[in-house]
Amino acid sequence: MAKITLVEAVTQALAYEMAHDEDVILLGEDIGLNGGVFRATEGLQARFGERRVRDTPLAESMIAGLTIGMAAQGLKPVAEFQFMGFIYPAFDNILNHAARLRNRTRGRLHCPAVFRAPFGGGIHAPEHHSESTEALFAHIPGLQVVIPSSPARAYGLLLAAIRSPDPVIFLEPKRIYRLVKQEVPDDGKALPLQKAFVLREGSDVSLISWGASMHETLQAAEALAKENIQAEVIDVATVKPLDLATILNSVNKTGRVVIVHEAARFGGIGAEIAAEIAEKSLLSLLAPIQRVTGYDTTMPYFKLEKLYLPSVARIVHAVKTTLEFA
């Protein structure tokens, strides 16, 4: 079996589900002939036709509206937003309609839609192309927010997202779109939508992250291992609904926590996780929870964007801070 990248796993999941379900249809800007600006839909229009892989006019609110209307009719639309920085015109429709249709109609209508967007920094992209605003969506009741950090998880979680009867914001960490390759069997097996993944076991500290930052987090864990510090590493993956049980299990074991995310710190998902831990595992905590995050600034243009992204050094430093806490 050939090894594939994260973005290829996205394509593979889309193709699998389209081949097996006529109701799955893709829409977005430049997703047809052009295969999407990151090639996530490469070859899909050729294979499934213009009816099922539709280039839309350039209007994100309308893309969301189309998606919601189609979903209410029982289709399973997967909309691509070219970059997360351009999803905000659709915010109103996602918040007011996609997230509410089921509750508003007491289950008469619902919204089995996926809103995909590449996100995050680190690829030297122009202004607005590098944001990480998952917290904005995760705060909205009725949504699910899913972020894969490996090809296999991208495949399994995207299948789950498409099959979910409720709307999913599916955020793809584009910095790692092509960073690693993995064998991903095209078996149509979905992963669960409220399950965090323990990527590495350890007893000294819990490192909690998601998306592209998983990679620095894992690197930090390796660096720490060399100093005989055993970090447990958790990929949250489904930012919402959050698998708190897995997180608390780990914290109860280690007593020390570092949360890592690329998004701005204030009001980021790191805060929610820290608040839950502080409430539910206070007595297990041996040291203050550390958050290693983007600063509370606009994502810098690419010359200085590295400063913004949580670095291995910052993570390691935070771990040591928790370990040194007496």
């Binding site: 249809i25 006019p57 609110s61 309308m62 189609m70 209410a72 639309p77 698998d243």
Partner: protein, 362 residues
Amino acid sequence: MAVAKFEIHYHQFLKPDGTLKQDLTKELRDPKRLIEWYRLMTLLRVFDTKAINLQRVGKLGTYPGVLGQEAVGVAIGQAMHKDDVLVPYYRDQGIQFQRGVDFSQILQYWGGDERGSDFNQAEDFPTCVPIANQNVIAAGVASAIQYRNEKRGVVTSIGEGGTSEGDFYEALNAAGAWKLPLVFVINNNQWAISVPTELQTHSQTFAQKAIAAGFEGEQVDGNDIIAVYERVRLALDKARTGGGPTLIEAITYRLCDHTTADDANRYRSKEALEKAWTLEPLIRLRHYLTSEKLWDAKKEEACLQDCRKIVDEEVNIYLNRPMAPITDIIDYMYAQCPENLKEQRQTLLQFGADILGSDHHG
């Protein structure tokens, strides 16, 4: 060098004095039909008056009246087929009640109960309060119908004020680009709360906004139920048979306050209101029916009685419907309740009954 030319047309059958401006089509010459329309408009007006009274005595929340706009709602309801889909705005009770939505459910919605949107017409969208996004969603519904090659049409509506929103235009543009089976109806009732049309846009008509999207827009006298019916029917036929979208601007006048929370006397002149009353849709059709010897004072009285009875029954159903279980506020958020919500559900159960106190019978 002129590279493109456009015209906007205005349609009317019944003049304000109730005489015909043009001959009726064969279909419309059926007197039963016109009488039924008159009855439906009356029913709607009776309901509307009742709803406002319910609000005044604290038995309903804020409610948007349709006084003066009855012809538009009834005509659309009549022109639509059962399997067409309605994606309404918030002042469309006049369409909804003809599509299997009980008056009691309309009241329930405006009475602050989500169950009012769990109605029989399974595919119709619920009342949409945020302005204009119903239009882009309607484009999605129409896309699904097109995708499945079904011969069904979609109607979506909006107020004239709402046409200033970007979503309205995005929907028009999508409908044009994809040739969607979609009929847009603009309820031009001259007011967006307190804002008159002159402050809303500089376009001479609202119909011409369709030109931006490359398809037909037209004006119709919204106080003339025959004209509205005819234009919506034609537009829906066109939509169902692959002819693409149409925009219809129905011109009326909002004779009531914006909602029960509004006081139009703050901004609306008495003269304008008086003039508008001379144009309203019920009198006009009554004039016509009377002149054709199809209607008289006795029939009117019987009709009113009948409508009041229907409405009273619905009000009773509304007032006596038991409260929803308190956990409803959680149980419909997702198909499967996530863990954190399960925890919150416990809190809700713990404190809920006390919070609602004695007024709750869930």
